[in-house]
C-alpha cells in the first residue's frame, strides 16, 4: 500500500482492509514505538474537527513523528484566497504524508491526484471519512470476533450520516443484515438501499426504536442534528424518540455492543455508559491504533 492515498473506503480491497485491521491489532498491543521518527506529517484541517485531529495527532506522536499544519482554515493562507491546488502543491514539499479534512466534497480525491505524497482523507464534506469506517470495522471485529453474518442496527440520522453510509457499504462485503431505525425525514436514501438490493442483502426499516434491538449484534447510534430539519417542531418531536437508555438493553444479546462515532449529545443516555455493552469510548481509542496502522502502511514502514 506504499505511496497510495486513502480517500474512500472503496480504494481498499477486502484483503487490504483486513491487513489494516491486523496491523491495528499489533498497534493495540504496542502503541508506542519509534516507527515514525524522522517523518513529518502535515495535518491540514480546513474545517475544525477536534476529535479526529486529536486522534491523528495522538497516533503520530506516539510513534515519534512530527506534525505540521493547521486546525482551522482561518489560520491558514486559505483565508487569503489561496486555492486548494496551491496549498497542496506547497505543503507536499514540507512533509511525507498529508492528512486533510475539508468541507468541500471530492477535495481529498483531487488533492491525492496532485500531491507528491500520500493523502489521507479525514472527511470531505458529506462524502467520505474512511479512517472512521476502518476504526468502526476494527471495533466490530474486535468485539464480535468476526465480521461475517452480523446483524447491524443503525439508528438516528441515516439520511445525511456519512459514517453510516460508509460503514454500511463496507459491512456489505461480509454478508451483514441491516436494520435501519430513523424518523421518516432521515431515512436511509434509496441509492444505498438499491446498493443492498443489488447485492441481495437483507435490510429492514423501522420508525420505532423498540424491542427489535434484541436481535442486534451491533447498535450503531448517530446524532439527530437540529440543522437537518426545516421545521423546528419536527425536530422537537423526533429528538427524544431516538434515545437509547439502559432500560432498553435488558433483552439484548450478550455479545451486543453499542457504537457511536461521537460526539454524542443526548441520543445515548448517560445511564448506558456504565453498561458493559457501551463501547463508544473504547471505539475512540481504537481510532488511534487504526490511524497508526493506516499512516505506517501508506508510508510503507510496515
Amino acid at each position: 500500500m506504499k505511496n497510495r492515498s486513502l480517500v474512500s473506503i472503496d480504494d481498499f480491497s477486502t484483503e487490504e482492509i483486513l491487513r489494516i485491521l491486523d496491523l491495528t491489532e499489533e498497534f493495540e498491543k504496542e502503541p508506542t514505538r519509534k516507527l515514525l521518527e524522522g517523518k513529518v506529517i502535515a495535518i491540514l484541517f480546513f474545517e475544525p474537527s477536534t476529535r479526529t485531529r486529536l486522534s491523528f495527532e495522538s497516533a503520530i506522536n506516539r510513534l515519534g513523528g512530527k506534525i505540521v499544519g493547521f486546525s482551522d482554515a482561518s489560520s491558514s493562507s486559505v483565508s487569503k484566497g489561496e486555492t486548494l491546488n496551491d496549498t497542496i502543491l506547497t505543503v507536499n514539499n514540507y512533509c511525507d504524508l498529508i492528512v486533510m479534512r475539508h468541507p468541500i466534497e471530492g477535495s481529498a480525491r483531487y488533492a491525492s491526484e496532485i500531491s507528491s505524497v500520500p493523502v489521507i482523507n479525514a472527511g470531505d464534506g458529506a462524502n467520505q471519512h474512511p479512517t472512521q469506517t476502518l476504526l468502526d470495522l476494527y471495533s466490530i471485529r474486535k468485539t464480535q470476533g468476526r465480521l461475517d453474518n452480523l446483524n447491524i442496527f443503525m439508528v438516528g440520522d441515516l439520511k445525511y450520516g456519512r459514517t453510516v453510509h460508509s460503514l454500511m457499504m463496507a459491512m456489505s462485503r461480509w454478508n451483514a443484515t441491516f436494520n435501519f431505525i430513523s424518523p421518516e425525514e432521515l431515512k436511509m436514501p434509496d441509492e444505498f438501499k438499491l446498493y443492498l438490493d443489488n447485492l441481495g442483502l437483507k435490510y429492514y426499516e423501522h420508525n420505532d426504536f423498540t424491542d427489535i434491538i434484541s436481535r442486534a449484534d451491533i447498535i450503531y447510534m448517530t446524532r439527530v442534528q437540529k440543522e437537518r430539519f426545516s421545521d423546528p417542531i419536527e425536530y422537537e418531536k423526533v429528538k427524544n424518540v431516538y434515545v437509547l437508555r439502559n432500560s432498553m438493553l435488558k433483552n439484548t444479546k450478550p455479545n451486543m455492543r453499542i457504537l457511536h462515532p461521537l460526539p454524542r449529545v443526548n441520543e445515548i443516555h448517560q445511564d448506558v455508559d456504565s453498561n458493559p455493552k457501551a463501547y463508544y469510548f473504547e471505539q475512540a481509542l481504537n481510532g488511534v491504533y487504526t490511524r497508526q496502522a493506516i499512516v505506517c502502511s501508506l508510508l510503507g514502514i510496515i
Binding site: 466534497e105 471530492g106 483531487y110 458529506a126 462524502n127 441509492e191
Partner: protein, 152 residues
C-alpha cells in the same frame, strides 16, 4: 441513381456527416469535437425539419474521420446522432453513437458542494446508467442524472 432530392447542406466528397443532432445542441457538438479548431471545410445546417427530433442539425466535415472514442463524447448531447462515413461521395459506413463508460470534461457535476464547482478541476464521471444517463462524479461520488445535466 435514387430519386434526386434537394440537399439543404451540400454534399462532401470525403469525410464525415453527423446527422440527427438536436438543433439546440449543434454548437455543443461543435465544441466537444473541437470543430472550431480544424482547418478543413465544414458545412452545417440547423433548424432543419426532422420527424424524430422536431428540429435537427446536420454537420458535414470534409477530410476528417473520427475514432469511435472521440465521437462517443457527443453521446450526452446528441444521443440519436447518426454518422455517415463518406468516400468519393458515397456512404461507405454508417455508425451510431454510444454512451461511453467514462466522461471527461463535457458535463458539470450537479453537486454544488463538489470540488469541481470550486476550483478549476476537469470533471470526470463514471457512467453508471446508459439508458437514462446517470453519471457518478469521480470526485464527490454524487450522481448527476440526465434531467440535471448541464454541459460545460
Amino acid at each position: 441513381m435514387k430519386e434526386a432530392k434537394q440537399m439543404s447542406v451540400s454534399a462532401i466528397q470525403n469525410g464525415t456527416v453527423i446527422d440527427h443532432v438536436p438543433a439546440s445542441n449543434l454548437f455543443k457538438v461543435i465544441q466537444i469535437l473541437g470543430l472550431d479548431r480544424i482547418d478543413t471545410q465544414i458545412t452545417f445546417g440547423t433548424n432543419l425539419e426532422s420527424k424524430k427530433l422536431g428540429r435537427k442539425a446536420i454537420i458535414k466535415i470534409s477530410g476528417i474521420y473520427f475514432e469511435d472514442e472521440d465521437i462517443n463524447r457527443i453521446a450526452l448531447v446528441a444521443p440519436d446522432a447518426k454518422l455517415n462515413i463518406i468516400k468519393d461521395y458515397e456512404v461507405v459506413e454508417k455508425k451510431v453513437v454510444e454512451v461511453p463508460d467514462n466522461i471527461v470534461g463535457i458535463a458539470k457535476c450537479m453537486n454544488p458542494k463538489c470540488i469541481t464547482n470550486f476550483e478549476s478541476v476537469t470533471t470526470r464521471f463514471k457512467v453508471v446508467s446508459k439508458k437514462n444517463v446517470a453519471l457518478k462524479c469521480h470526485y464527490c461520488e454524487k450522481i448527476t442524472t440526465q434531467e440535471n445535466m448541464q454541459i460545460i
